[in-house]
């Protein structure tokens, strides 16, 4: 039963990882940007959550509804102001700019909010749960996180596959110059893609910022988990990212169950094993499209 509980908690955790990873996967998929600032942007969203919920006293769900569009706007502006320029330089520029952004943003957050640990208040919902058996409890908040993670992944995937704008994003990803010849403004498409990615980061930041306490540098951890989920699942596939998140979550909880000090290590070893034996990930792009 303990093992079953570990697996259940791992799956729920996986939903959070998938949610964290969705934006990363999307930005790489569309713009080939490995957004090293992903984690700290999630922290930005979390701090916004603190401001709205803790400081201004807004209800949690209302804050969510405000933070997500703000993050989308941040994404839009970042893309126009920074990443579009970097992309036009080619080569390593986007990676490096993202890296610089990560460092700058982390320090700015610390300057503004100090290094004190914060957490977004959600009241009783944060600690209530459904008791399934003696050993198995399913927390409402983790469950909600999981459901949102799945919905976000599914929504973004369907959007990319079916919607004309989604298709335009994929085309832009292949050849940003040539889409202009189809009447598509590549910079605009990029900006919208980043806005969408940051909207998911907004969600992710709200959820992780509520689940735990954070400081500006907590973003590093977020980034690593997100990356592992993306790679375990397979590059460029959002469903893969979901599967990757769940596998990572389960590996960590089961690892902890073996010995608490193995949790993260087992997650990482699973990641390396995937790399060694199935480098294309579990659900690589070609299978899903």
């Amino acid at each position: 039963m303990q093992w079953l509980n570990a697996i259940i908690q791992g799956i729920l955790l996986g939903g959070l990882y998938a949610l964290l990873a969705a934006g990363l996967s999307l930005m790489f998929g569309v713009m080939r940007i490995v957004n090293l600032a992903h984690g700290v942007l999630a922290m930005l969203a979390a701090y916004l959550g603190v401001v709205f919920v803790n400081n201004l006293g807004l209800p949690w769900f209302l804050a969510l509804v405000i933070v997500v569009p703000i993050m989308a706007a941040v994404g839009y502006v970042l893309q126009w102001g920074l990443f579009n320029r970097a992309i036009s330089k080619g080569g390593l520029a986007p990676l490096l700019v993202a890296f610089g952004l990560a460092v700058v943003l982390t320090q700015l957050l610390q300057q503004i909010f100090s290094a004190d640990s914060r957490s977004i208040q959600i009241g009783a919902l944060g600690t209530s749960s459904i008791q399934v058996s003696d050993t198995i409890y399913i927390g409402w908040f983790p469950l909600m996180t999981f459901v949102v993670g799945v919905l976000v992944i599914a929504g973004v995937q369907v959007f990319l596959n079916r919607a004309p704008l989604g298709r335009a994003m994929r085309a832009t990803s292949d050849d940003p110059e040539t889409v202009n010849l189809m009447g598509i403004n590549n910079r605009q498409v990029y900006a919208l893609a980043t806005a969408l990615a940051m909207a998911t980061v907004g969600l992710a930041g709200m959820f992780i910022g509520t689940k735990t306490q954070f400081i500006p540098t907590y973003g590093d951890l977020v980034l690593i988990f997100a990356f592992e989920a993306v790679i375990i699942g397979g590059l460029g596939s959002l469903w893969g990212t979901l599967v990757g998140g769940i596998i990572l979550g389960v590996a960590q909880t089961v690892g902890s169950q073996i010995n608490p000090s193995y949790g993260l290590l087992v997650g990482n070893l699973v990641f390396l094993a995937i790399l060694a034996f199935r480098p294309q990930g579990l659900l690589p792009k070609a299978v899903t499209t």
């Binding site: 080939r32 970097a86 330089k89 490096l96 300057q111």
Partner: protein, 351 residues
């Protein structure tokens, strides 16, 4: 050391291609570098210890930047996980010297070799990924190395280790010895990079960087070459790790395996100019100076460095060395091949 020129002028002019590999600026560069290194070697007799320690920090930055550039600028592999080898080098030194009682100055090369050996199996994992994902893959691998280190009680688990075996030396000697070690490390790192890039391997790399498929179809062993450079770079980073441990005397897993090392390496190479031997050196010096001047500004210091890196990436893609050298016209370390007077040689202008 062989001279940087190989001018072939034997036999008849018409049957032999004359290839020149040095430039006037490279002779000037050699003319400057040799006295500078000799002068630097005498530094412990001239400058105070604090300055020596600072120079050791600077030298470790130069080695790191040079190695990151070797990997990314020449090998096209953007790694965010070189801290794995920095850590291995540092832990290797402290463990071999303090726990096993080896001479610290023997422990350094030994741990460099250990890092090189470990990097071989690691390369098989990392090479499964390309581009940005290679970057993060290496980062995760570094995290794993850290977590494994933290499981080993002999390495101090989560606490880390202190290097005490150097305390037997007087502070003046200890600092001077570490200084000389570091100076040697810089010379080795730069020289290895330079001669690698002048060799056939370097030629292959330049080709791989431009077009991997075409290179492999011409017989360049892409994976072999990359692995070779990966290992060399790991060894260089381990060397820097040893320098850092010898200089700061205390290592903890979170610190020595910190991803900040990668941040700094990237910043230095970008600021200086990627894909050149001079750039990382310039970048390391600038970065070091910035760190010295700005570190009292608290958080603002990293904000300024980060903004600077972004601006340079966007507006000065060849970095400061590109600016200094007139976009590559001055090359202190030339690696190219110039055909001397091709028209004269074959006596006609085709078509």
């Amino acid at each position: 050391m062989s001279t940087p020129t190989e001018t072939h002028a034997h036999a008849t002019v018409t049957s032999h291609a004359k290839v020149k590999r040095s430039t006037r600026s490279s002779w000037a560069g050699l003319g400057i570098a040799v006295p500078v290194v000799l002068f630097m070697a005498a530094a412990p007799y001239i400058i105070d210890r604090g300055f020596q320690q600072q120079l050791v920090t600077l030298f470790s930055l130069v080695v790191l930047a040079t190695m990151w550039n070797l990997l990314a600028g020449y090998g096209g592999m953007v790694s965010v996980g070189q801290q794995a080898y920095i850590g291995i080098g540092a832990y290797g030194l402290v463990y071999l010297a303090d726990t096993l009682g080896l001479d610290p100055f023997l422990a350094v090369p030994l741990s460099v070799i250990i890092a090189g050996l470990l990097s071989i199996p690691i390369s098989f994992l990392a090479f499964r990924l390309v581009g940005g994902y290679f970057a993060i893959g290496t980062w995760v691998i570094a995290e794993v190395v850290k977590q494994i280190t933290m499981q080993v009680d002999a390495l101090g688990a989560g606490i880390g280790l202190s290097l005490t075996s150097l305390n037997e030396l007087s502070p003046g000697r200890r600092i001077a010895y570490v200084y000389w070690l570091s100076l040697a490390a810089v010379v080795i790192a730069v020289a290895v990079t330079y001669f690698l890039m002048r060799s056939r391997l370097g030629l292959g790399f330049t080709a791989i960087r431009d077009d991997q498929v075409a290179a492999s179809s011409l017989g360049v062993r892409v994976t072999h070459s990359k692995r070779f450079v990966f290992v060399v770079s790991a060894m260089g980073c381990a060397l820097a790790g040893g320098m850092i441990a010898a200089n700061t005397l205390r290592i903890t897993p979170d610190s020595i395996y910190s991803v900040n090392f990668s941040a700094f390496m990237i910043f230095m190479v970008i600021i200086g100019g990627i894909g050149t031997i001079e750039g990382p050196i310039v970048g390391a010096i600038v970065f070091f100076a910035l760190q010295e001047w700005l570190s009292d500004l608290g958080t603002w210091y990293l904000i300024i460095i980060g903004v600077l890196a972004i601006v340079i990436t966007l507006f000065l893609p060849r970095g400061l060395w590109g600016l200094i050298s007139g976009n590559g016209r001055i090359r202190l370390f030339p690696v190219g091949y110039r055909l001397v007077n091709p028209i004269e040689r074959f006596g006609r202008h085709p078509d």
